[in-house]
């Protein structure tokens, strides 16, 4: 019985050895692949996903990189990321607002073309899209912020007067002009990128950023008293005493009111320090 036993032991040893070797090799290869795959999940800020794209971590499980959305985009907005050229995961669709923004087609052909649902087929109204959020990133160079009337981002916005409004402010520099400040309202902004595309500056002052970068988040426990009061129709707590507000101007409890502090000196320009 010892004769057939020996090769059997050798077989077992060889089998265990081979298995261990293959498993170890695969563990190394798998670790490298996983690391690479995890790294590739970092989507650069200027790469915007098509309308209806799932959140990035789900998107890379859902997108098979077939490029059908790219083919059905009538404006050549979408491209597939090329290895080493574009930052997005190789072969996945994205667009760069400053190159070609999304034209927000009513029938959303890119979403319809997606075979897997990586672009959510539940998106049927393009105004509901959240490809990103426009942010006026440079208030020092924006022409409107400088007091000029550029208004281009406001004019080209497909959701004009909702996603971007012009808010009149006092021009403190000249003292007697207005500033029409472009203000983005995230609730209505689809992230199409037309504002960034058409910003007249050599480098856009308004940029579409991924939602994760563009927005802060209010703590869930925060309650905005004025909203709650509107909802309730009255203050939430009874018996609050309304004390006088400290507002500037005569007759109120301000610094210049009788009994208040009056500076003993005069400024050279004749003002009182305002």
């Amino acid at each position: 019985m010892s004769a057939p036993k020996k090769p059997k032991a050798m077989d077992r040893r060889r089998f265990l050895m081979d298995t261990a070797r293959a498993a170890a090799g695969c563990a190394v290869a798998g670790t490298l692949l996983s690391l690479y795959a995890r790294d590739a999940r970092a989507l650069p800020a200027e790469a915007l996903r098509p309308p209806g794209a799932l959140p990035e971590e789900d998107f890379l499980a859902a997108c098979i990189r077939c490029g059908l959305c790219v083919r059905d985009c009538p404006y050549d907005t979408l491209v597939l990321a090329e290895l080493g050229v574009d930052g997005a995961a190789t072969g996945t669709p994205f667009f760069t607002a400053r190159n070609i923004p999304c034209e927000m087609c009513d029938d959303i052909p890119c979403v319809k073309a997606c075979p897997t649902g990586a672009l959510d087929h539940g998106l049927t109204d393009i105004d509901e899209a959240k490809m990103g959020i426009a942010v006026l990133v440079d208030e020092e160079n924006c022409l409107n912020a400088l007091g000029l009337r550029c208004d281009v981002c406001y004019r080209v916005c497909p959701v004009i007067d909702e996603a971007i409004t012009l808010e009149r402010e006092h021009n403190a520099r000249s003292g007697h002009h207005a500033i029409f400040m472009p203000v983005v309202h995230a609730e209505f902004c689809t992230g199409c990128g037309k504002c960034e595309k058409s910003c007249v500056l050599p480098e856009a002052a308004i940029k579409v950023l991924p939602v994760r970068l563009a927005r802060g988040q209010l703590g869930e426990h925060y309650r905005l008293g004025w909203e709650q009061m509107d909802e309730n129709g009255a203050p939430l707590v009874d018996g609050l005493i309304d004390l006088p507000d400290r507002l500037p101007g005569p007759g109120t409890d301000n610094l210049a009111a009788p009994g208040g502090f009056e500076p003993a000196f005069k400024l050279p320009m004749g003002g009182t320090g305002q």
């Binding site: 996983s34 795959a37 098979i64 077939c66 490029g67």
Partner: protein, 307 residues
């Protein structure tokens, strides 16, 4: 072994069947590979959109959806359940390859095949040593690893490195630096491991191997009695171990090459001057006596001729 073993591979077949006859399936394969590539390219090149997309997913004539089943399975491993269109496309592709032969994909469609064939050609020209030869099962381990990596990272993991889709998508949509993966495979097959990538490593091949394990289209060594041991079929076969059981089998053994490893490339049919091999289906039960058994009935006493 016979004296003919010393002849350059395929010489005898060229002499008896002519160059075209001795390269029939190779030429057909190259035409098929080029056609599968071109059908995707005539859209972007000439605006003729017969097929949109790429090998991972496509839409033919605006009606027929096709999806790479392995890519979709990785997505499912990453816990994403795809929409119906993709599932239908994967089902169509899966059933097709399960019927006609899984690794038909490898030799008749895959754009990496000409690359590794080229590497092998140069390898032979340079008379290089065969190098590292991982076990045949390595690719199944790779396949398992790919699913594990997909599940762990929540991504379709192999698509980050898959040279097949990198190359094909690159040619259709723009390649970037993805050609480096193709060069890497070429160099791997040339210097590190003869026929290493397609034969030992590639998990896509492993997947189609398993998919086509019971497929219909098969090569048979039906006329194995005529074999004169020139060894050319072994020399050209990228998976030469699949030939032995069929070609060297006795009368009772099936002459069908049933291994899922066989890519149905047809090169053995090409290079055989004796026309031992032919394409058939897996239910082909034509009697096929082994060598030296031509006159014997199939269940006769075994003939111990040395191979």
């Amino acid at each position: 072994m016979s004296a003919k073993t010393k002849l350059p591979t395929g010489q005898e077949a060229i002499r008896t069947k002519g160059w075209i006859g001795a390269h029939k399936y190779l030429l057909l394969r190259r035409i098929s590979q080029a056609a599968f590539l071109l059908i995707f390219l005539i859209g972007p090149w000439f605006g003729l959109w017969l097929v949109k997309g790429n090998l991972a997913g496509s839409l033919t004539l605006d009606v027929l959806p096709l999806t790479d089943p392995l890519v979709l399975l990785q997505g499912i491993a990453a816990q994403y359940w795809p929409e119906f269109t993709a599932l239908l496309g994967a089902l169509i592709v899966g059933v097709t390859y399960a019927l006609i032969g899984g690794r038909v994909y490898c030799s008749w469609v895959c754009p990496i095949n000409p690359v590794t064939d080229g590497a092998h050609w140069l390898h032979e020209k340079l008379g290089m040593p065969k190098g590292w030869q991982p076990k045949r099962e390595t690719r199944y381990w790779m396949l398992g690893m790919v699913f594990a990596a997909s599940a762990l990272t929540g991504t379709i993991a192999w698509e980050f490195v898959n040279p097949i889709t990198m190359l094909q998508r690159g040619l259709v949509f723009g390649i970037g630096f993805a050609w480096t993966f193709v060069i890497a495979v070429f160099l791997f097959d040339l210097f590190v491991s003869r026929r290493g990538w397609c034969g030992h490593i590639c998990p896509v091949g492993a997947f189609y191997d398993l998919l086509g394990a019971k497929s219909l289209l098969r090569v048979t060594a039906v006329d194995r009695a005529k074999c004169d041991d020139c060894m050319d079929c072994f020399a050209v076969c990228p998976e030469m171990h699949v030939i032995t059981p069929a070609l060297r089998g006795k009368g009772t053994d099936t002459p069908l090459i049933l291994s899922g490893d066989c890519t149905n490339c047809g090169r053995c049919i090409d290079v055989c001057a004796q026309d031992v091999f032919q394409f058939t289906h897996r239910f082909d039960t034509r009697p096929s006596p082994g060598r030296g058994e031509e006159d014997a009935t199939p269940s006769s006493a075994p003939c111990n001729r040395a191979a």
